[in-house]
Amino acid sequence: MNSFVGMPSFPEASSVAVGDAQLRHNLRKATHTIRAKRAAVVGEQPDWAALREAGAAIKDRTLRHLDVYLERLEAAVVAAGGTVHWAADAAEANRIVTDLVKATGETEVVKVKSMATQEIDLNAALADAGIRAYETDLAELIVQLGDDWPSHILVPAIHRNRAEIREIFLEHMADWGRPAPPDLKDDPRALAEAARLHLRERFLSARVGISGANFAVAETGTLVVLESEGNGRMCLTLPETLISVVGIEKLVPTWQDLEVFMQLLPRSSTGERMNPYTSMWTGATEGQTFHLVLLDNGRTSVLADEVGRQALRCIRCSACLNVCPVYERAGGHAYGSVYPGPIGAILTPQLRGMAGPLEESLPYASTLCGACYEVCPVAINIPEVLLDLRAKAVTHGHVGQRLAMGAARRVLDSPRWLAVAQRSAGRFRRWTPKRLPGPLSAWSDTRDVPVPPKESFRQWWAASR
């Protein structure tokens, strides 16, 4: 997760975001819409409490005997014709995937939206090796074409409006494949169709697919990917070689356990009784070559923490983001990692350690209202972990000057980070110093003031489906 070092600490980044009308508007709309849908489909489920209890217990069982289940999963995948690789950290995972792609002789891969591959910044590693990674999820596509960072687990481009999306399509689609039609309008239908045609061309010709997984069943070796758009299943199915990068906490012990998570996840996540498409496959399927890369990258240190290890139960549903008053105002970028919102506030400092001001400040990115705990389908007591982390942050001491200097130095090392930092700093300058003063104010303002959107991304997205 090195990619995000150099991001401003949470108080700075969030106060700049609070000044961004666009982002605040989109977030409010999106989080409230999903919240209402979730409440309805959870409310109608007569046995929700029992499912939640089972979900938490299954994940705890997995974590208690993770070594047993990892070995079982490996054996099952191998028995089904797949190959299993182990990666202790991001660099190792990137090296394994890069070598696997190189061995196929291909220089292009298609990707299914995956937080694990974002966490390790796989696309950049592939690019360094001359391999182009095409994102195939609509929102990820927008993020990729806009050379941007995702800001929500499920709606990564929530900070963009559709006029911006049209601009991005017109300007950048041609660089990546099929260009956008020159007369592209900014209505949701036209944008969705342009994206569909652009993406379709990508996955019909792709020979290597890269994915993550929502679940990996130790007993059978089955991997499970849930999605909303249907492009993921193309990437999982059509290429000759499939490489899946999966965090070691994604395991569930038995096939039967899926009966719990196939109810908990869609209802908590998008507020649907079932998500539109789910793929399940075991080993090498229908003549494909299949590689599973098991990723640690800090997870075993989380596991070692008695209080904090419950964060590994997380199934990335994003329900906690959508109810969080702090997230609603701050936006995903403020959390400085691929894991935003309440779960990010407890996961990031644990995965990376209290490595700097961002990590130390994240446990304070909460009012401890407890809404996240209440909605969490696997009953992660986020406030409890936050308090525990705060206690740990205090023992590390506080950092003032180091923030500006350290962050600046690291950011300046990479032009891409500089761009991100400048944007943040730009917003930061307009922030009225009501709360916390920050050291980034000296940075130059290169970002235009956004016009409040007529329609948020989430609205057009909902309308375009």
């Binding site: 005997h65 070594d67 182990w86 202790a88 059509l238 009966e259 498409y277 399940m280 640690d296």
Partner: protein, 198 residues
């Protein structure tokens, strides 16, 4: 292999339990619904309702009406060429004139599939509560690409393939087959479902 041993070592060091203790000691409370309590007729009706709620066009037909309903649905969409898996029951197309069937045997290439006017298949089972179809590559279904690439999908569901809840579906499914759970039409396309009540 170094990473493998290192990760397993760290996992064992992190866990308060002794490695090799196994999973038997950790019991999972399963107080949630695992069996249908609804009468069959209601389960079938619920499936139709929920699938329609997912923007699928659903028609309930008797077994002897299937061929005619199938033809009517394909004609209504002006389909000229449809992809079909090998082993589709002949009777399904008994009423069909003027629609060419492209059998996926030998496998059709991606470009051909992309240009068809749709695909006709059966399914492994359907879940009433969520309006979901599950395909497993078994009888009357074919390989996964066959139903992924065409923009229109017409799926035949026999009433006895419909279960009420997700746990019943998971129990019936075979994890060693490639499974596609579908709740709603393919992107930019349509999903039509014929529920055959015999």
């Amino acid at each position: 292999m170094r990473a493998r041993e290192e990760i397993l070592r760290r996992v064992r060091a992190a866990s308060p339990f002794q490695s090799g203790e196994g999973d038997e000691g950790a019991s999972v409370p399963r107080a949630y619904r695992r069996r249908a309590v609804m009468p069959r007729g209601d389960v079938i009706a619920l499936f139709g309702e929920r699938a329609a709620g997912r923007r699928a066009a659903v028609r309930h037909v008797a077994a002897d009406e299937l061929a005619l309903a199938m033809a009517a649905m394909l004609w209504a969409r002006d389909a000229k060429r449809v992809a079909v898996p090998a082993g589709l029951p002949r009777g399904w197309f008994a009423g069909l004139d003027g629609v060419r069937r492209l059998r996926d045997d030998p496998p059709l290439d991606h470009a051909t599939l992309a240009e068809t006017d749709g695909v006709v298949t059966g399914c492994a089972l359907a879940i009433a509560e969520t309006g979901t179809l599950v395909l497993d590559g078994g009888r009357a279904q074919g390989r996964r690409a066959l139903t992924l690439i065409p923009r229109h999908h017409l799926c035949v569901v026999h009433a006895d393939q419909i279960v009420h809840t997700v746990p019943e579906a998971v129990r019936r499914l075979d994890p060693y087959r490639p499974l596609n759970w579908i709740s709603g039409p393919p992107s930019g396309g349509t999903l039509e479902i014929l529920v055959v009540e015999d």
